[in-house]
């Protein structure tokens, strides 16, 4: 790819700067001293619905009930697993929920079901910041991830990887032939036809993460994937 000038897709704002009439959600835009201000580094850009909106470029993942996340098993408890969901809060998955039936310690062996280091796709059931988030794997497509690759990006960049009406994700899937699942907590699960395509998809996602604030990104990503496929002859 030639080195071309990157155009910003909006105006960069830093903590403390007024965002004027731009929309944005708490706590990334907060009223301080009677003025609506950005509280994290972000960008003011045109929104899909018209008008201007504040898009954060930094931030951590805060779980919300209903979100589907990709978690990493970090330890096995007596009746539950502790799951790293790329958030300040460690999530809990109970063994009853995983089995879908009562747990019988005489018959069932927890460490045979999920081991430390396993990735799971799970849905957040409840979270209110006073208790750890609880997860469920009861649902279509949820459960242990058995094939493919999981990569991690900043949770603040997830909307950019999805694109407007998931357009960026469609481009990625079509151009690489991978099936890609983007979880809200910034972890991405890829299942690709071969290793080369997987590598290309991973590199494309990393470019999106790094250049999330520039315009014309979709066009550059298409070009990148096509050129890379030509070079690798896949």
């Amino acid at each position: 790819m030639e080195s071309e000038e990157r155009q910003l897709a909006g105006r960069i704002v830093v903590p403390g700067e007024p965002v004027d009439d731009a929309g944005g959600e708490e706590p990334y835009v907060a009223s301080v001293g009677g003025v609506r201000r950005a509280t994290v580094v972000g960008m003011i850009r045109e929104s899909e619905e018209g008008g201007r909106t504040f898009v954060k470029l930094k931030g951590v993942y805060i779980p919300e009930p209903g979100h589907v996340v990709i978690g990493l098993i970090t330890s096995v408890g007596i009746m539950n697993w502790f799951v790293d969901i790329n958030s300040p809060y460690t999530a809990v998955l109970s063994v009853q929920d995983f089995l879908g039936r009562p747990f019988n310690p005489a018959v069932d062996d927890m460490s045979a079901l999920l081991k430390v280091g396993d990735y799971i796709k799970a849905k957040v059931v409840a979270f209110d910041k006073t208790r750890s988030p609880t997860l469920t794997v009861q649902g279509e497509g949820l459960g242990r991830i058995v094939r493919g690759k999981v990569i991690e990006i900043s949770p603040a960049k997830v909307p950019r990887v999805l694109g407007r009406k998931r357009s960026m994700l469609q481009v990625l899937e079509e151009k690489t032939g991978c099936s890609i699942f983007v979880a809200r907590n910034g972890r991405i699960h890829l299942e690709c036809p071969n290793e080369d395509l997987e590598a290309i998809a991973v590199m494309a996602i990393k470019i999106i993460e790094e250049e999330a604030h520039t315009s014309g990104l979709t066009r550059r990503i298409i070009k990148f994937i096509e050129e890379e496929r030509k070079v690798r002859e896949v």
Binding site: E2, T90, F224
Partner: protein
């Protein structure tokens, strides 16, 4: 503080310039950089002349020990530390009384601006490592911590900056260095968030008259505004100077 400077050193010269050639209201050359560490969630390095401070922010995260946790907000933990090689004579790496106190001082100058209520039951760790000390390490630390917190994506009401005003041979001077601090009559570190018009740190070592105090505070706030504007530029620059494309 007090005493006589080394032979041949004039703290304020005939032309009104300080021993390093600065005018009384001039800051030292300031350099800032964010995102200097890969492993930290946010990081920054700040130089005030020869003073150099590295800041690393981790979190919000669950700590290994649960006792610092607060039920209604994130606990801010600040560790100010001087590297053994940061001073002329080796500094023992063990935390000294002064370092423990400065950790508290820096923490209290950050607490009013960090929106900690968003992350109850977590800790935000701020590590400040003084790599080279030449006066004004606490003020450079506050500035570095503010940048590193912004780099980590922790919600903040505004950015803070910090500078010390000193009194040297009866003249109020901005951003005192080691020599001026040692032989001056007063040293007043100030931290503030100019966007909010709030002062988050004010200390005074030495004696100032009422008038001198008001003038010093004004000088401090003016310099802090310059420093915070530099912080904003540095944060913006990380996005405007993407050099992607050379794969």
């Amino acid at each position: 503080m007090g005493g006589k400077p080394p032979e041949g050193v004039r703290l304020i010269g005939e032309d009104g310039r300080r021993h390093d050639g600065r005018l009384p209201h001039e800051l030292r050359p300031i350099h800032m950089e964010v995102g200097v560490l890969n492993n930290a969630d946010g990081s920054a390095i700040v130089q005030y002349g020869r003073t150099r401070v590295l800041a690393a922010v981790y979190g919000p995260r669950e700590p290994h020990q649960k006792f610092p946790l607060l039920p209604d907000r994130a606990a801010l933990r600040v560790r100010y530390h001087m590297a053994p090689f940061s001073t002329e004579d080796r500094k023992s790496p063990a935390p000294s009384r002064r370092e423990i106190e400065l950790s508290k001082v820096v923490r209290e100058s950050l607490e009013p601006i960090v929106i900690a209520e968003e992350f109850p039951r977590t800790v935000i760790d701020v590590f400040l490592e003084v790599l080279q000390a030449d006066g004004g390490t606490r003020t450079a630390s506050v500035t570095a911590a503010s940048l590193a917190l912004a780099d980590a994506g922790i919600p903040m009401k505004a950015l803070v900056g910090s500078v010390a005003i000193g009194k040297v041979e009866g003249v109020l001077v901005v951003d005192v260095d080691e020599l001026e601090d040692m032989y001056g009559e007063a040293d007043m570190p100030v931290a503030a968030a100019p966007d909010l018009g709030e002062i988050t740190l004010l200390q005074l070592n030495g004696v100032l008259s009422r008038e001198e105090f008001s003038t010093a505070l004004e000088m401090a706030l003016e310099s802090i505004k310059t420093i915070v504007d530099m912080e904003k530029d540095v944060l913006r620059k990380t996005y405007t100077s993407v050099e992607g494309g050379e794969q």
